[in-house]
Symmetry: D2
Subunit: 378 residues, 4 copies
């Protein structure tokens, strides 16, 4: 018996267009899905590039305007893999057209933007999700299960960092194909929205809401050539951003992101310390979850390096055999599978509403970076 | 302009049938291929399972006998992902029918078998390859490049191990669906052909031929229930196998494989020590290559953990961005891509002839395990 | 030719009395010292315990009042290994008596206290030092040398943490023999003065002065039994303390200390990120210095684990052979040796004046923890 | 009440003379000893060096002939820290004079030598011990306790290696002050007696006797200048030595030592795999014991890094506080303390008889290296 199709229209063909397309392609091969994803069309301004992309991934057609994509009757879901500055308009138009909407993170450039996006999907009653993919790295999902099972007890500390080093060169332009993340008008902010947003999404998923924050932001390279003007212009983004936080459960948070930490490419790490046990993880060793359990027999206590590759670990029974790794891309595959199977069951998270709460925190971080005060974050 | 097709007939739908099918599916999406792989048909005795497999991966049809697959005119390449005991007959028949042949490792259950397989493909002049996939983990390929560039100087030592723990339970049957690796008639041997063969393939690729070996083999669990007879029968495979070796270049080798090393799932590790530098790698941290370079300034010398995820590292420019991991499955994708692009250029390795040389070593290991003598291995 | 003696009077026989006594005992056996340390007398209120301590370490006599120790003519140096609340009075009295003074860290309970102590030693013109021992872990000293040699270039980030877990139990008393660190009157503060002070000392040594800070402090267990009153009393110390900082050189700092990080005993870590290179170290792997050098050839770049055990590494030529570890206690041995050899040459650091600057930062941290504002720290 | 003295006469002032002298100096400061060690005299041919050594460590006098040391009435214990070629004669003479005897490892250059040494101490009935110090690294002792408590169940595998890289330079002389380990007449053998002997001692202590071995030995640099002749002479030692073993308990052993493993200074590692649990340790991270316990709850299983620094861990209650490291030298302190406290209680191991059994294995390894056969080792 043939499954119902889930007909997808993709906006964007960049790095995220590839991860999303791969997710929809791989998901049905490894997971039992309630509906079968079909790559119907991709929209992008550069027609040649879009056609090349469509051919590669099997999209049936190409649109040069995302509005045309939304107008099509043969599409159920609009997936937004375009830069941050277009998330708002596309998502709202898609929702108003009754399409399901998936959106790359961060949801909006500001919480004001994402607030309107939440209103649109909720008003339209359409399924929606934001691609905070790291929740679905199996080791991270495993951490969630252990925390929800009460293994940690009262939580005292949460800390996370996302360290990169790719913008240290002074001659790197702001804006352009792969560099729009340096253009504040397009990106909304620098590492706060790009990297800290991931840390905050995971943190609130694992440890609950954040009440207040105080932040420190910095732009190390003050001027860079701009791709649009061709001139050296002031840089508007934050190159580094750190903040301290108080969670609703009374625990303390420490967060940091930067693109100036020489030697780190994508070192996203978190650690959570509870009364009974602690957990730690990092993206550069993504198949491992570290766990210290104080309830182990005293002289045999130690940080355990849990190799999250067994069939009994989250998602892993669908892949290979114990000991063999999956990578970064599979986290998107899991998210696509969960979204699809949540359509007829329990709605998969993070929804637009969840992601809006992350935007409230990043807004507070950016504000505190200017005021030097503690700011409310919810 | 449409590319020529490479029309594939797959034999087998198990673990390796999945990795190979995934490889042919993913390769064209991430690599620029000279021909476009097409999954034409899969052959397997269990028709229901085969049809389910075909539907999942997009094979157009199903055959219940591999001979029928070979007889078809619409297939260019026979890919053997079935248990070891059928490699010989299928490969020879395929070659004789003028098909290209790819075969899971080990090539034969014995060097005698693989010798005939080599003769068949060479006589037929058909492209051929054996799926020793670990060569194409980017960190392993990177090691090859560094060695070939002369960074290590004279080699003194090579050591490798492949440690697992999945057969410690005494009640595990020998033979049956996922357990044919315990049945000596099907597998040919135990860990020697299954695990040491990988270590030997990589070792000879990186460090040249092995002249002589002395080995120690052991079967810890002497009797197990057999799936065919339903009775407890003597176990014919080796549970553990270790050997010492002398390479042609004068260096010493130490190899070990076992399925009784509690705590290790698929811990394939190797280390090579040269006059100037050493390299080490392990499958449980597969994106890293460790390198010690004695030519670094004295007080700053240290083992480097090279995070093999940059665009300038082998294969990685085709995947995501620096810092983000690929996994086990991608090594098969690389091998499929290299095979296809080698059809019209430099033949990709390891060929049947290369894999036969590995079988000569595993034969010598098994022989020495019985004689207690040093045995010639080439 | 007999060397001049350096006649030592010790105050205190606790944990730090042991590390200091061991330092003076071991230093002449492993280092060529300008003067020979002699353990003359120890002062402590508990006479029995003091006599036992004196017998163990070879002190010639015992005093039950530190004033008596200072009054003696046969003592050149007063070493203060007693709790924080007596540092001020002893140091000033010793300086006024013309004695050299060494003092455990932190120098004062407040910067006001330490300011007076600095004035006393400077007015008296007596050699003085504070036992911030971690500077002289060879890997840390090696980091200093690499930074001073300009290997890192412009610095962007400095981060440090000191994580422990020994006060999570709610029934632990505040105050008493080994627990005075929980009594705010004795200790002055909690983790800020005890643990962050170490982090700040190293940070300013490696990366220069700190201009401003904003902090978050917390007392998780609000009441504990007090050893003096026998009653449950409010807890006055900070259980956890974190702060963000701006260094004089424009780099950003992130610091955290806690006694509620389950699984960590004494995890003091730091990392410094520069334009060209980064360094990282942790006390739980104290013989290693991690270094990433962007000037290495691209595909061979990686974090180096420098095993700081060679003769060419700081201090290590005086110990064993390459590869063999020294431990925590040897950092005090190095400090004792440097202090003694600095008497007739270059004064060894950190002096009282250096340690006072650390107290200015801890004061600012504690103040900011209350005000929620950025506070000046110098 | 004054304790009885244990009056020590030391032979040798080299690297091992220092570690032993430090052990006897430190032991009474950290351990409650039944007798008080007194450094009475040191014997060595080079009088100036011996006097310097004596002054440094507090030996009361110096002898230029070890026979004079043995003749003295004011000495209870002869401690042999001289090169291997004099162990035999000194130990036998000391025993015959009724002295206790401690001896550096290996006990003899051959099992024939050590057999006579065992006979001498047993005939004289004098306490005796061999300085296989690694047994008393706390993490190693902890491993012994866990194994003896039955935590591992049936043992399948034991593997150990001792990797160094200090003799790769071709111009290094054989023989002379610090280089006698390269002179076969003095040392007896190369890495077999120097490094493998440590591995074997630990292995048989943890896992019981070794029945048979087959070995591979190699001398990479065939000729080196000799310090005695001044000429380039053939090298008699083994530069590298590996062997496979069968233990009495049915488990398999794999051992390797070399001085040609670029990047490793003193990487002594062992791992033992049992039915229920595995343990691993290495000297370059000596405070850690790794443990995998299959009886942990499935999804939470992982290799534990036990930080062996707590008061409840072997020996550690006598040192500092949890988390703070001791180093290499402390293993000798523990051994001295155990020897002294064993004089009036349970005799401390390894005795000469224990160490002789190690020599039987190293003899078998060297023999097998020549014959290429499996050889009996007990």
């Amino acid at each position: 018996m043939a499954k119902d199709k889930l007909r997808i229209g993709m906006v964007g063909y960049g790095f995220m267009g590839r991860t999303h397309s791969n997710a929809f392609t791989q998901a049905p091969k490894f997971f039992d899905l309630a509906r079968e994803p079909e790559l119907v069309a991709v929209a992008a301004r550069n027609k040649d590039r879009a056609e090349e992309f469509a051919a590669n991934w099997g999209y049936g057609s190409v649109e040069s305007d995302w509005r045309a994509l939304i107008d099509r009757d043969d599409i159920d879901l609009i997936d937004i893999a375009a830069p941050n500055n277009v998330h708002h308009d596309i998502a709202i138009a898609a929702a108003e057209a009754g399409k399901m909407v998936m959106c790359e993170k961060p949801l909006g450039r500001t919480a004001a933007e994402s607030s309107e996006m939440v209103a649109a999907v909720e008003s339209a009653g359409v399924p929606n999700m934001v691609w905070y993919n790291y929740r679905r790295i199996p080791a991270v999902t495993h951490a969630k299960h252990l925390i929800d099972a009460g293994k940690l007890g009262r939580i005292f500390h949460y800390r996370a960092q996302f360290l990169q080093d790719w913008t240290i060169a002074e001659d790197l332009p702001q804006g352009g194909e792969a560099l729009w993340r340096l253009d504040v008008d397009v990106a909304g902010s620098g590492v706060t929205g790009d990297l800290l947003a991931h840390c905050i999404d995971t943190a609130m998923w694992l440890n609950g809401g954040i009440d207040t924050v105080t932040a420190m932001t910095e732009t190390f390279i003050k001027e860079r050539p701009h791709n649009l003007t061709g001139k050296v212009e002031p840089v508007g983004i934050d190159d580094a951003s750190a903040f301290m936080a108080r969670f609703g459960n009374g625990s303390l948070g420490l967060f940091e992101a930067t693109r100036y930490a020489r030697g780190h490419k994508a070192l996203y790490t978190f650690e959570i310390n509870g009364e009974h046990a602690s957990l730690a993880w990092d993206l550069h060793d993504l198949t491992r979850l570290s766990m210290f359990d104080h309830r182990d027999d005293g002289p045999e206590r130690g940080w355990r390096s849990i190799h999250v590759t067994d069939g009994e670990h989250p998602y892993m029974g669908n892949w290979w055999v114990p000991g063999l790794h999956i990578g970064y891309a599979e986290s998107f595959v899991h998210q696509a599978a969960d979204f699809i199977n949540g359509l007829d069951g329990v709605e998969a998270a993070p929804t637009f509403a969840d992601a809006h709460r992350t935007d409230l925190v990043t807004d507070a971080v950016l504000k505190s970076g200017k005021t030097g005060q503690w700011e409310g974050a919810s």
